[in-house]
Symmetry: C2
Subunit: 314 residues, 2 copies
């Protein structure tokens, strides 16, 4: 990486669950920066040569490794850990899969699927999607967080108040993230880098891609924040919004059902408009379409909308 950091963490220096008894691998002083060499979420079980059959063979005990933990000197419960996301150095390849039983439409898509991506390493050009379309990229950290207060082993899959697998696609370069510290030293870890993802990550995977990421750590003492928050350095959708959006709505008394309906509707629309298979449309929606809550107050029905950027096909 061109950017010079104070420390480097290699890809093997990782763990696969949150547990505040895991010994830190590095102690940093506030103000210092660290480069992390992050594996993709399968931890090497999938490669650029993988085929769909490999999805069925995934060992879930190994997935979503995170690099760390990092002990931040002076961090105490009640502080906020400020993480400045400095830069990414993407690898140029990634994968998107439908993993049976996982994803918003798991009921409609029971079979495994795998798409391997190849992209230009600067991530400044859209990546071609074999079945059709070109997807603008924006690398970010899918999993980023600190150790929970509660003792014991906690799955790395769900995010929590301390962060973790939040899959917020705007945790990209230039963003400043604040995480609530629950244990001494914070015990920070990061992993699950993505080359692109839409809001929702609807099929359950993004463009899962190994890359290096540089982060700087600072502390805000006694901030007592309830959840993560962040500040973006500028607009968050300009890489994909130039041609506008096709939007489908789901309407009803349950936000989850409305989201399900909106996405299912978009898959039908993209399939009809562009001749994609339903599965190909589903994976594509996951990497570039956005779930928004249009209204959450007009009792008893809410509107969840799914925004698909038209630039992908224009």
């Amino acid at each position: 990486m061109n950017l010079k950091t104070n420390h480097t963490i290699h890809s093997h220096q990782c763990h696969t669950s949150w547990d505040n008894s895991i010994a830190p691998i590095l102690t940093v002083t506030p103000g210092e920066s660290v480069e992390f060499d992050v594996q993709e979420a399968s931890a090497g079980q999938l490669s650029s040569q993988s085929l769909v059959g490999d999805v069925a063979d995934l060992d879930f005990g190994r997935i979503n490794p995170v690099n760390g933990p990092i002990f931040i000197d002076g961090a105490k419960p009640g502080d906020a850990l400020k993480v400045s996301i400095l830069a990414f150095e993407p690898s140029g390849w990634g994968w998107t899969a439908n993993i049976p039983g996982f994803g918003l439409l798991a009921d409609q898509f029971p079979d495994p699927a795998l798409h391997i991506w190849s992209y230009e390493k600067s991530a400044s050009m859209p990546a071609a999607y074999g079945p059709g379309g070109r997807v603008p990229l924006k690398p970010f950290c899918g999993t980023i967080g600190v150790a929970p207060r509660e003792a014991g082993v906690h799955s790395v899959v769900p995010p929590r108040q301390v962060g973790g697998n939040m899959d917020i696609r705007d945790l990209a370069a230039g963003t400043e993230l604040f995480l609530p510290v629950e244990v001494e030293g914070a015990l920070f870890s990061v992993g699950d880098t993505h080359a692109a993802q839409g809001d929702g990550e609807i099929c359950g995977t993004a463009i899962e891609s190994p890359m290096s990421v540089a982060l700087r750590f600072e502390l805000v003492h006694d901030a007592n924040i309830p959840f993560p928050r962040f500040t973006t350095p500028g607009p968050v959708t300009r890489h994909l919004d130039a041609k506008g959006y096709d939007v489908t709505a789901g309407i009803g008394p349950d936000l989850m059902s409305a989201a399900h309906d909106a996405v299912s509707y978009m898959i039908d629309l993209l399939s009809a408009q562009h001749g994609l298979s339903a599965m190909d449309a589903y994976l594509l929606c996951s990497v570039c379409g956005d779930l928004k809550i249009s209204e959450i107050v007009d009792v008893p029905n809410w509107v969840v909308s799914f925004y698909f950027p038209r630039i992908v096909f224009e």
Copy 2:
């Protein structure tokens, strides 16, 4: 309005519930356009001179009038009604209220509140918010839909599969909306114009503002769409995204609770950063902050994020 339309509907030509037995006030041929002179959602009960006490006196039997119904010649159940949103002529004033019992944080904000807005009529300049901030505007139709198949009187408050009070802030000029037709002639109505609103409309009201809107109607026969969908002519957030966003996350197993947590967190943040009262921050968030579903797949916890555009205070 500078734009010439085939027909004009005046503000008093309205109704306050969806009911497919209401006689149409106009029949249009596909391809024709109509200008609607839309009242704000209180139907004249609030004015630019109103005070907070007037909120408590609102007669809910009169709220959210919609202009119509318009019979579209040849529309049949199973068709889609294509509505091209051509232009708005805003009035230059509007209101935002906290109505007790209504809104995402109704539990935290039991008291009425009212803010009266004055804005430049082209809506091209941000509107000053008295307690602090300047809100970029984008006029749109809060309520737009067709009559439901089911006989009888249906409240105008909730949206349905046929549209209605969807409060989708991107139903702005240039957007093409497709609505599922359930009865002969479609029986289209529109109302509840807003000068600005964030995704979610979290306090329950937007910048409620009377304005004229010009629409053109066409039919797509046998489209058989399950819900409304639309296409935007270009980017949807460029009026407010230039300075980036402050974002708060809510994380947990229920989307509604996560949305509640994210918004509540943002209100605390804005109050601390800008010296706003909690109520002022709540109303401000409703007119310019966006609720997004960041991830909906990392079982069992989802992430709902609330995006507040920093340009409001910069």
